[in-house]
């Protein structure tokens, strides 16, 4: 569980991002502690992915400060983020289809820069994939031949390779089957128990409440509340949509009026 005594590993204060005239993020504050899963939720366009990309060094922030382990840092490049210990699993996975699984796992971190140690890399790839209970038949096939779920597993395995302080997962379960989703959630808990911080982005409230220690809601690029894992569906939905009377609650009401009361709302 979250370690409340030590300070946060990652602390964002007043982070903003402008895309031209559009304000994608406005004055965002957020903290991630050791051994804590922070879920980042919000509707499409709320700025979740933008925030992840800033922390991953893909986009530059417009203003605000980022503290990593009590030091103010600039994350100018993806390489810098990895150096600090911030690993990211992007929504679009960012794998090289022409390379095999081993090459993708170790991309940029190859063992033996002047004489690639393929055997060692292959063994470590199998170990890593086994830890994740991954169903990948062969690590010597190009990524192009893998299914969406298998690619997701490869991407997650890759982020763990460097033993990062913080791992960010952008919609990690969106493309996964039932068993793999459970595996990924287990994995998130395992990563947390090892003392890493996890930032999880998901549209699936069930997943979020299952693993998150705190739920940070973004709405239209702004902070819109922080909840515990015991927050109700209604509370989260109203924070996400910005109104207690919203299309989701109206739909739920209409359905419960029409039939016997039902819990949970289809996404």
């Amino acid at each position: 569980m979250a370690d409340q005594d030590s300070g946060p590993i990652l602390k964002l204060s007043g982070v903003s991002k402008q895309f031209g005239a559009v304000t994608a993020l406005d004055n965002i504050d957020m903290e991630v502690r050791k051994g804590e899963v922070v879920a980042l939720v919000g509707d499409n366009g709320a700025g979740k992915s933008t925030l992840v990309k800033i922390l991953a060094g893909v986009h530059a922030k417009t203003s605000g400060t980022i503290h990593f382990q009590d030091r103010e840092v600039e994350i100018g490049t993806p390489g810098r983020a990895l150096e600090l210990g911030i690993a990211t699993v992007f929504q679009d996975l960012a794998l090289c289809e022409n390379l095999d699984v081993v090459a993708n796992l170790f991309l940029g971190q190859e063992l033996g820069p002047w004489r690639l140690n393929e055997v060692e890399m292959e063994v470590r790839a199998w170990t890593l994939l086994e830890e994740l209970a991954a169903r990948i038949p062969s690590v010597r096939e190009p990524i192009a031949s893998l299914s969406g779920g298998q690619r997701q597993t490869v991407a997650i395995a890759r982020s763990l390779l460097l033993d990062p302080q913080i791992i960010m997962l952008d919609e990690p379960t969106a493309a996964l089957g039932v068993a793999q989703t459970a595996e990924v959630l287990n994995l998130i808990e395992r990563v947390r128990d090892r003392g890493h911080g996890v930032i999880l982005i998901s549209h699936n409230m069930e997943d979020v409440r299952a693993v998150a220690d705190r739920i940070v809601v973004l709405r239209l690029g702004q902070n819109n509340g922080v909840f515990g894992p015991d927050a109700t569906q209604e509370e989260l939905v109203s924070a996400i949509t910005g109104a207690s009377d919203n299309s989701v609650s109206r739909r739920a009401k209409a359905r419960s009026a029409a039939a016997e009361p039902k819990e949970g709302v289809a996404t």
């Binding site: 996975l93 390379l99 004489r115 063994v123 190009p142």
Partner: protein
């Protein structure tokens, strides 16, 4: 196979391709899914050999083949360089002009200014490196597509070549010098060429042995003995026959060995180093490479510099082959021959796929066609048209193979 499952064969969905039959089946699967490998080259060479020998028996004579190898080395080096830009999904259209400028620099510095030839060659290579750096920087800083920057470079370099050569238009290089003998007459002693022909097979066998041992130690599946032995023995047999046949005539040119050694070195760089892996990654998915922490801009700079520098070296070899630096050097079909050679050999124009061997195999095909057409006394007008068609054909094959790979999930 031991009774315990190997780590990488634990999944029941993986077919166990063991032994020669397995290797053959794997190869067939690859070809069917659009991973053609060296198949087009072999088919091409057989067709070329049959057709040209039928039209003019001189084509297959050992003397002519030695000539062919002399000619192949210069274009081959240029082609080897362009592999590095093609791998990134970029192109360098100015390699011909670059080689022309390099030969002009060699002529002016060595003959006109009296600089020792090794220094003159170094200067030419330096010019190549700078040119490559400029192209990469234009791409990095201004997002100028390499297609455009190198096309304008083609013209600019051609201008520089004409400027350097001045009014005379051509500079004759001293016949008695080492460089010219290297480019025109020097062949390996017979015994040495046989020894060298044994080398690749031995290296393949030794490395295979080592890999087997290390994989076995790590409890990974090991490739079958039979495949390794057939590979090594087959290659050795082919090389020995080729060397024997060439030694019936003049022998194996040193210049070709020089080229082959460079190809082997570059193949090592591409497949066995982190740098090479980064090149594949940038060519396959630039954004993914960037997010993995690869410095894409730096990779581009290195690749373009390697390309132009090798083009400059190719120009030097071409000059030594002709014993002159002239206005015609590097013009005409040199550009497209070098690019076509890489594509015929299996390097994709779309980036992310290729090998250094493709330059060697492809240039032999291209040079064989060119040589055969010359033996038939065809005018250059016809030669250009035929070579143009061959290039178009190579690109069509590349494109179709790529579509097939995409639909078969092999990228």
């Amino acid at each position: 196979m031991s009774d315990t499952r190997k780590i990488d064969r634990a999944d029941s969905r993986v077919r166990e391709d063991t032994g020669l039959a397995g290797a053959a089946r794997g190869f067939l699967d690859q070809v069917k899914s659009g991973d053609l490998g060296i198949l087009p080259v072999i088919l091409g060479l057989v067709v070329i050999a049959v057709v040209f020998t039928w039209l003019n028996p001189i084509f297959m004579r050992p003397q002519n083949l030695t000539n062919l190898l002399f000619d192949a080395a210069a274009v081959g080096l240029i082609s080897l360089g362009v592999v590095f830009t093609l791998m990134l999904g970029e192109i360098d259209l100015s390699i011909g002009s670059m080689s022309g400028v390099a030969s002009a620099i060699l002529g002016v510095l060595w003959v006109n200014a009296g600089v020792p030839w090794p220094l003159a060659i170094l200067a030419a290579m330096l010019a190549g490196a700078v040119t490559g750096f400029v192209y990469a920087s234009l791409l990095n800083k201004f997002g100028m597509p390499s297609f455009v920057s190198t096309l304008s470079g083609l013209l600019a370099l051609l201008g520089l070549q004409l400027y350097l050569l001045g009014n005379s238009g051509s500079i004759n290089l001293p016949y008695q010098s080492f460089l010219i003998r290297f480019g025109q007459t020097m062949v390996m002693p017979g015994w040495l060429s046989y020894l060298v022909a044994l080398l690749p097979g031995i290296v393949i066998f030794a490395l295979g042995l080592q890999t087997r041992q290390r994989r076995a130690d790590a409890n990974l599946s090991v490739p079958a003995w039979s495949v390794l032995i057939v590979k090594a023995a087959g290659l050795t047999a082919i090389l020995l026959i080729a060397v024997w046949y060439l030694n019936l005539g003049r022998g194996v040119p040193w210049m070709f060995l020089f080229f082959a050694v460079l190809v082997a070195g570059m193949e090592y760089v591409l497949t066995r180093t982190k740098f090479g892996r980064s090149i594949f990654a940038v060519g396959g998915n630039r954004e993914a490479a960037r997010r993995a922490g690869i410095k894409v801009e730096r990779i581009r700079i290195y690749c373009f510099m390697i390309c132009s520098t090798l083009a400059a070296m190719g120009g030097v070899l071409a000059a030594s082959r002709l014993a002159s630096a002239s206005r015609q050097a590097g013009t005409g079909d040199v550009n497209l021959n070098a690019i076509a050679a890489a594509v015929i050999g299996g390097t994709s124009l779309f980036g992310g796929r290729g090998s250094a061997w493709s330059a060697l195999l492809g240039v032999i095909v291209i040079q064989a066609i060119s040589n055969g057409l010359t033996l038939l006394n065809l005018s250059s007008s016809l030669r250009y048209m035929i070579l143009g068609a061959v290039l178009a054909l190579a690109v069509i094959v590349d494109s179709l193979a790529r579509q097939s790979r995409a639909s078969n999930g092999r990228a």
